[in-house]
């Protein structure tokens, strides 16, 4: 069931086209992440959903109801700003209870429950926002937004100001709290790890357009274009010639997901799809090989730059690739290695 729907939403700021006909559907109870580089329009999408900006054209529908011209305070959509935006003149309890009616007799109890839910000790009730750490401030901001039990929660890079260790813990806490409350959420972020770790639904934006939306797995394995592929993870992008659905490249013929295709193409492989094994002189292989040009140690993993070749005596094709391997069995610089491809390649573009 679709909770929120954007229908060809466009927005212009002066000469700059911030959003160009964006369509987006957010399923109920889902956790959607909108990712993209800065300036891609992802924050504008969030602000239009919240009602802080009005689109020049297009529609915003919540449960089928047109919200496009509804002011922010009547939308019932929760919002957590980048750095929490706590009211500096109010105590923590007053901040959390801000959206509740003053006369509500359950107000005090609700605030205590919410503080408990986001993991804030009750002793913080009367503190002022500036006495809290960044992570605690974000917890307050979340509790405050949860107080009104919105159907949808918008999170505008709420973890970006936190340090790395805290960020992950906060992400899990927020995810758990939202799931427990049965609230769908949209997270805007430029951090792919954050997006992949949080979302069950991913939307990639660039230059004011929605490039691709779907499950994180789909987008990771079958990105729409090279930029998206690289944005979501380490990718090898290789020229190839298609022959009946198989790609001929520096790796020799490999399986792809474009069944029966022919002609020139660009294919993508994820780094982890290539297994690197050192070859001793006795062993022979028909598969693709390469020579290690450099090696750098990254703890569990080791990063290699490998010059890959496929029957150099025939085509002379060579390409330098950055690959990864377990640092336990990392080959030395200069070693010849066997490159085994796991799973099909994804065809990015094709000319028939």
């Amino acid at each position: 069931m679709t909770l929120l729907e954007l229908k060809s939403v466009s927005k212009r700021f002066g000469d700059h086209l911030a959003l160009d006909g964006v369509n987006l559907a957010v399923p109920a109870n889902s956790r959607t992440a909108i990712v993209g580089p800065s300036g891609s329009g992802k924050t504008t999408v969030l602000r239009i959903i919240a009602g802080f900006e009005t689109p020049d054209s297009g529609q915003v529908l919540l449960e089928g109801r047109d919200l496009t011209n509804t002011p922010a305070h009547r939308r019932g959509i929760g919002y957590v700003a980048q750095e929490g935006a706590l009211f500096p003149h109010l105590s923590i309890a007053e901040n959390i209870g801000f959206g509740l009616e003053r006369s509500d007799p359950t107000r005090r109890v609700r605030v205590t429950e919410l503080m408990d839910l986001v993991g804030l000790p009750a002793t913080m009730r009367d503190r002022r926002p500036h006495e809290l750490s960044g992570g605690q401030q974000q917890r307050v901001a979340l509790a405050r937004a949860l107080a009104r039990k919105p159907k949808l929660m918008l999170l505008d890079e709420p973890f970006s100001a936190l340090d790395a260790g805290l960020r992950e813990a906060m992400r899990e806490m927020v995810g758990d709290a939202l799931r427990a409350a049965g609230i769908a959420s949209i997270l805007v972020t430029h951090d792919r790890a954050e997006a992949l770790g949080f979302a069950d639904h991913l939307a990639v934006m660039r230059d004011g357009a929605l490039i691709q939306a779907g499950t994180p797995q789909t987008l990771y394995r079958e990105p729409a274009d090279a930029l998206t592929a690289r944005f979501l993870g380490d990718a090898l992008i290789i020229d190839a010639k298609m022959e009946d659905g198989r790609a001929l490249s520096i790796f020799g013929p490999i399986e792809t997901n474009a069944i029966g295709a022919n002609g020139r193409a660009t294919i993508m492989l994820r780094t982890e799809q290539i297994a690197v094994t050192a070859l001793d002189s006795a062993t022979r292989t028909n598969g693709p090989t390469g020579r290690v040009l450099s090696q750098s140690f990254h703890g569990a993993r080791c990063r290699l730059v490998v010059e890959a070749m496929w029957r150099p005596e025939e085509s002379g094709d060579k390409q330098s690739l950055t690959l990864e391997t377990s640092s336990l069995s990392a080959p030395e610089v200069g070693a010849v290695v066997r490159l085994d491809i796991v799973g099909p390649a994804h065809v990015l573009t094709r000319e028939d």
């Binding site: 009602g51 980048q82 750095e83 959206g99 926002p129 960044g134």
Partner: protein
């Protein structure tokens, strides 16, 4: 082994840097205590019987009621007016809002007693509490409009957006989120206006409204150096303390800085819709009353007077002397206010609060009290300083310390202490670090404060009348002499020059307000 032995956890009461700054601030505070010390001296000198006989009498009660009524009528209207005007120019899509925000600062170029002189001409029937309050509001509201507008522009829009996402209507957001953030600007502006109401003399003479200030000058003129004026001054000092206490109570421990860095997104502007026309009319009315009336009156007298009123042999020296006094006075006042302003933001303590209070209180004394104190002290203790430029500049310093303090305090509050610490960690000695970070960041605010002080000095009347060395006649004293003789036409060129001289300062102030935001 513990890296932090428990002994070092207990901070010494004063760090060395604080000690140096505190000493400097205390020195200025002592200087500013001269007038109060003088009044205490007079009270003791004249004895309890004389003092109580002069203080507890119906006349004084009348003055207290008059002064409080003036404050009680003027301040709420000035607050409402300034917040409303600031909202219109900063937060709506009002056409010509840039021009309007300039015009709303323009009344600062018209001295209060010139404003009063203009209203005397236009509406001779206007006097008493209503007249006094009206002219006071028109003359002083920019002192409130400027900080409120600046604060409105500085507000983090995320706060209002978050409040909207929590279901608050625009009106509820204004009262529960915006207004509390304006508290510091409003209470600071109200204090400044309140102090002017207590100290102003010329305006209320022309409006025939007796306040403590006018009564003290009357006493002084009838009985030179008499205890009556000084004891009335003592009551006025108590009123001023009450105002300071009230401001301190209202300001509370409100935090100036926003929590976290926040994204400095510019705030959206509301659509006026059907209110567009009435907003334009309201602004037109305010500007016509505060700037239009003085301009009209001046033009009228200048046209009526023709070329006869332009006596250059007295106008040119008056102009030069006024400019010199304004520049020199502004410079020394800022330097003198700096230590206490820094202390009150960075190292607030009971002592700092006391020092700050003594800086503020002195500005609430009418010029005549400061002047009288300095006259008596120079005559009795340091005769060579009697009626010298040095004494006159000291009087200006004492009178305008509060203006310098308000501006400096706000601008230092803008410069985060972390920068100073960073500079120190990069090897700068403490005082160098302060100069290279806070002083540089606060400099624009300091210039704005200096402009306010210079503006005040250029238009200062009473103290100058009493303390000016022989031959020093400023524009204000010349203007007042002609006005006292009801020669409104001859006074006009001086009024015009005072206005023109104040224009660059107003310009500076307004540009500063823009810069703070960028």
């Amino acid at each position: 082994m513990s890296l932090l032995p428990s002994a070092t956890l207990r901070r010494p009461r004063l760090r060395p840097r604080h000690l140096a700054v505190t000493s400097a601030a205390a020195l200025v505070a002592l200087l500013s205590l001269i007038p109060l010390g003088f009044i205490v001296f007079v009270a003791i000198d004249s004895g309890w019987d004389t003092a109580s006989a002069m203080v507890f009498r119906p006349r004084v009660g009348e003055l207290v009621v008059n002064t409080l009524a003036l404050v009680a009528v003027t301040l709420p209207v000035a607050i409402g007016l300034s917040v409303g005007l600031a909202w219109l120019t900063e937060r709506t899509n009002l056409p010509l809002r840039r021009t309007w925000s300039w015009l709303l600062v323009a009344p600062l170029a018209v001295p209060a007693f010139v404003q009063s002189y203009a209203w005397n001409t236009v509406a001779p029937g206007l006097y008493g509490l209503f007249g006094a309050a009206l002219v006071s509001i028109l003359a002083y509201f920019p002192f409130m409009y400027l900080p409120v507008a600046a604060q409105l522009r500085r507000l983090d829009p995320a706060l209002e957006e978050t409040a909207a996402s929590l279901g608050k209507s625009p009106a509820a957001i204004f009262f529960s989120v915006v207004l509390p953030q304006l508290r510091l600007a409003i209470s600071g502006g109200a204090l400044l206006i309140g102090l002017h109401l207590l100290a102003e003399y010329g305006l209320y003479v022309l409006m025939r409204y007796d306040t403590f200030a006018t009564a003290i000058v009357d006493q002084f003129q009838s009985v030179f150096n008499g205890p009556a004026a000084n004891l009335l001054g003592g009551v006025l000092v108590l009123l001023c303390f009450a105002l300071l206490g009230l401001e301190s109570f209202v300001r509370g421990d409100a935090r100036y800085a926003r929590v976290g860095g926040g994204s400095a997104r510019s705030t959206g502007r509301g659509h006026l819709g059907r209110w567009a026309l009435s907003s334009q009319l309201a602004l037109t009315a305010v500007v016509l009353l505060s700037v239009g009336v003085p301009l009209y009156t001046l033009t009228r007298w200048l046209v009526l007077g023709g070329t006869d009123i332009w006596k250059l042999d007295s106008i040119v020296p008056a102009l030069g002397q006024t400019a010199f006094l304004a520049l020199a006075g502004a410079g020394i006042t800022i330097v003198a206010a700096l230590p206490a302003a820094w202390l009150s933001v960075r190292a607030p303590s009971r002592l700092a609060r006391l020092i700050e209070s003594s800086h503020y209180y002195v500005g609430a004394l009418p010029g005549v009290i400061v002047a009288l104190a300095l006259v008596t002290i120079t005559v009795r203790v340091a005769l060579p300083l009697y009626q010298t430029m040095a004494t006159l500049l000291l009087a200006y310093l004492l009178m305008f310390l509060p203006r310098a303090m308000v501006g400096l305090r706000a601008s230092i509050a803008q410069a985060p202490v972390e920068l100073e610490r960073a500079a120190q960690s990069l090897g700068k000695p403490p005082l160098v670090a302060v100069f290279q970070t806070t002083v540089r960041l606060a400099a624009p605010g300091a210039f704005a404060a200096a402009a306010l002080v210079g503006l005040g000095i250029a238009n200062e009347l009473t103290g100058t009348l009493m303390l000016a060395p022989n031959g020093v006649r400023t524009l204000a004293t010349r203007f007042w002499a002609y006005t006292a003789e009801l020669d409104f036409s001859s006074a006009a060129p001086y009024a015009l020059l005072m206005v023109l001289l104040s224009l660059p300062l107003v310009l500076l102030l307004r540009l500063e307000a823009d810069r703070v935001v960028k």
